[in-house]
Symmetry: C2
Subunit: 245 residues, 2 copies
DNA sequence: ATCAGTTATTTTGCATTCATTTTTTGTCCT
DNA sequence: AGGACAAAAAATGAATGCAAAATAACTGAT
């Protein structure tokens, strides 16, 4: 067999009890949730083949609901379906990444704008808390903690926009670049770290003043800078690694 | 039979020759395209049931590819699938519409911002042409022509953003509110018409100057105003109709 | 040994079939 | 008549089966 899925010999989650606390009546829905996570979490290498047969065994289901789920994932942009040649995990070109980051920037920019119309003082306080927490991680050079706090801040802004449609779209795009986002989060680029901290302070400032268009600009620029950092990181992947093996 | 699909007795498009000039290798892909158009064009009343069986006969296919297409359309937000109770054309609440308009506003706002970075003088000239054309329709009270020119202007801005991901997302959301958008395009509200013309002039002005954040603001506000007009139109549907039958 | 051509195996796409669930129809009772 | 219950019909969800396409394996020639 030439599949690219690491065969652990066990289903992704226990076959009977469903994995998380989510409930899904239909097998198709359940499969969709599990498969989406499985792909988003990077269990299959980019561009790797995804043989239906093997996934069926993995999930303990027949091909019908699996294929339905694959079609949906393809529509979401996570995988691509080549006619008669099966599904592959979508490989994102540099251009794809640039586009995705820009769309994310647009959505967050919008979220900020809308948030200014509806956000409560309590919500702002909560975001400030997250900001301080993030600052702590920054001081301790805790990349992972920093990343998580950062994510939660951005999610809080999206939540404050009070727009479920936006939230869903945001989650969808975030899923597509999740792997890259994490790994490319200016690993060891301390300069960019400091810069990002300042940008976040500007975000908070604009948010407190409910300055919608200003916040919109700041958020867009913030994500634009993140995009630049991410692309750079991918172009010159490891600045501390030896030049040759 | 209690379906809500008008039964014309003929397939949506001739079974053998495919409807448009689009080509799709798989039956599933073909079905998806045809069904999406069929729904977007409003052939099924809102909230109407979509019996698989009937659609299969209509399209001359078996249930498997049809069901795959339905799952995708559900993921796109055009229809909803109730467990064990089939597919319904998604009924948009007023809140849903508000959210959709806002997201569209965000995407167009982003498109304008990005367009400022890459748009050519020729493209701007083309948009100006469309603007004059639209002005002509405005003077002649030609709603349909006005609407189409308007659409093309917005599409041109999105195209000038040079972002396929954005373009796809935009098309998706546009599809969801297509019906409402058209019917609600301030029918007979001359005041709003004039206002929209002025806003479009401001758009062109900012575009010529490549004033990204300014254009972003203008486009957002423009769409916001459209949203208000659309919602109003739905709330008080016909201002010239008699109050009682 | 390498490569073209051919055959065998696997994989995909779609149709069909089977088991449940829902909806409708029919019947009986008040 | 009207409503509650039960049986029949239809629709959905998922598994299986089958034909076509693609991939892999094999053969033989250079």
């Amino acid at each position: 067999m030439k599949s690219t899925i690491p065969d652990t010999g066990v289903p992704i989650t226990p076959p009977t009890g469903n994995g998380g606390d989510r409930q899904e009546a239909s097998l198709h829905g359940e499969t969709l949730l599990r498969l989406r996570d499985y792909v988003v979490e990077g269990n299959i290498p980019e561009g790797g083949r995804v043989p239906e047969r093997q996934l069926c065994e993995m999930l303990g289901i027949s091909r019908t609901p699996l294929r339905e789920a694959l079609k949906v994932l393809a529509a979401e942009g996570l995988i691509e379906l080549l006619p008669n040649r099966g599904a592959r995990v979508r490989q994102l070109s540099q251009r794809d990444l640039e586009e995705l980051f820009d769309v994310m920037a647009g959505l967050e920019s919008l979220a900020g704008r809308l948030a200014c119309e509806a956000i409560t003082d309590a919500e702002i306080t909560a975001i400030e808390q997250l900001h301080y927490e993030m600052y702590g991680h920054y001081l301790h050079r805790d990349m992972h903690g920093y990343f998580q706090a950062n994510q939660r801040i951005h999610e809080s802004i999206v939540a404050a926009a009070r727009n479920e449609t936006l939230k869903t779209a945001y989650a969808n795009f975030a899923g597509r670049i999740r792997r890259v986002r994490y790994s490319a989060n200016f690993a060891r680029k301390r300069q960019r770290w400091a810069e990002a901290m300042r940008e976040h302070e500007a975000v908070l400032d604009a948010l407190r003043r409910r300055a919608a268009s200003e916040l919109s600009d700041i958020l867009f620029q913030h994500l634009r800078n993140k995009r630049t950092a991410a692309i750079e990181h991918l172009t010159e992947p490891r600045e501390d690694a030896p030049a040759s093996p």
